[in-house]
Amino acid sequence: MSKYKGQAAVLSQEQIARDIYSLWIELPRIASEAAPGQFLSLYTRDGSKLLPRPISICEIDKLQGRLRLVYRVTGKETGTELFSRLEPGDSLEVMGPLGNGFPLENPGRAFLIGGGIGIPPMLELAKQLPGDRQIIAGYKDELFLTEDLERYGELYVATEDGSAGTRGNVLDAVREHGLAADVIYACGPTPMLRALKAYAEEHGIVCYISLEEKMACGIGACLACVCRSKETDSHSNVHNKRVCKDGPVFLSTEVEI
């Protein structure tokens, strides 16, 4: 697997919820290599914003060489706000695919759990994962990607304000519906991942979590985005795994969060 940096063509852009945008880009060299759970580095054209923005891959269309990115605009004058202004015909500099995706070989009943902007990578995973897929999506209030997710598994929704599905978080939805699984795949805010790690250990099930951390290079050189690992890491000989290169997907038992 090799990383590639180049210009992608913007195919379409759509706002799908408050501050949430869906962007389709064309870049066959990356689409052909990409796997669910991997991410791309996106570069702005604003020279004062030096660093790439790591964005998870939401959908991969290998046949047509296209990728879908669903991301959140984090504020005014941010890099993500600049991306939200891209229109069909524009180009976007990207590097990828980066990191390790979710392992797909695990059979049996699976939970695919996304929280907030951690939901998008669950869509491509749901498309590719064999077995029984129970997708649990946790939102603050406004829903997005639900119609897409429903096509690839049984979808359960939780909202913090109770405006849709279970009032509460993703584990509240699991309990309300009496769901069970042999393996968990999750991406979302750290408190959610922490709760899932505890839940998985309590129930003795395998749990893969996708972590996020501030990154600079995205390729494992700068050592900015480390997380604490249980075992000594092979790169720095301490207890720091690199989210960008050793992750972003980890077994919940190999990291301390």
Binding site: G47, L51, K214, N237, V238
Partner: protein, 300 residues
Amino acid sequence: MDTKVNLAGVELKNPVMTASGTFGSGEEYSEFVDLSRLGAVVTKGVADVPWPGNPVPRIAETKSGMMNAIGLQNPGIDMFCRRDIPFLKQFDTKIIVNVCGKTTEDYCKVVERLADEDVDMLEINISCPNVKEGGIAFGQNPKAVEEITAEVKKRAKQPVIMKLSPNVTDITETAKAAEAGGADVLSLINTLTGMKIDIHRRAFALANKTGGLSGPAVKPVAVRMVYEVANAVKIPVIGMGGIETAEDAIEFLLAGATAVSVGTANFYNPSATVEVADGIEAYMKRYGFEHVSELTGLVK
């Protein structure tokens, strides 16, 4: 056209090197650039034992710059010698090992350990702003700079580069102190200490509170300091600080640098180093320079 430069008897095929801490030991970048195209690879700092570094967040972007407080996470000299040196030996480039420590003894242990290793030069990091002991604590005091330089020089089998901190009132004082201590080459600048506050979380952007500012934002400060130091000492100077293009690198050469390092730019353009090397050649061709060394200190 001759792009070779000489640093204390070590001949580099061109003046372009990597800045310590921005390039690992080259492995991650070898997917993007042919390391044999570089004058030298300067490794990330290595200590006598593994260092875990600082808590996260370790970086924050600022306008035209970034701040880091990695805290010199490194695998320790034994693993480095076992893994990183053999990796770099596959390429036709010079190997410069950046050495860090908390005490003079720490630095000396690493320097002694490297004496019989096949590396070309040592760069002594007495200027890291992100560790509590060692690092900058040595680099801000001329007397301490001279002493540690002398101790390192007593033990080193390879030429010694002292990496200077810009976080001083007069950088020529620490530069002259390093020269007096026996330094073969000077490199500058390390990062400028800065701070960023996240107003929405009402907290420091970096877990370490402060970090080292780098990137294009620091370049004018770096060029000025390279000019001052190059005119204050007789030993060669390696210039760095915000270099992202050949034009940036040529400014440093004209200000008095013999070689240059590309640092932060590697994070957003993994092939920045070779682009700088190519651009220097194009500049030489355009203005009819035969030897790259003719550029050094041309602007008085």
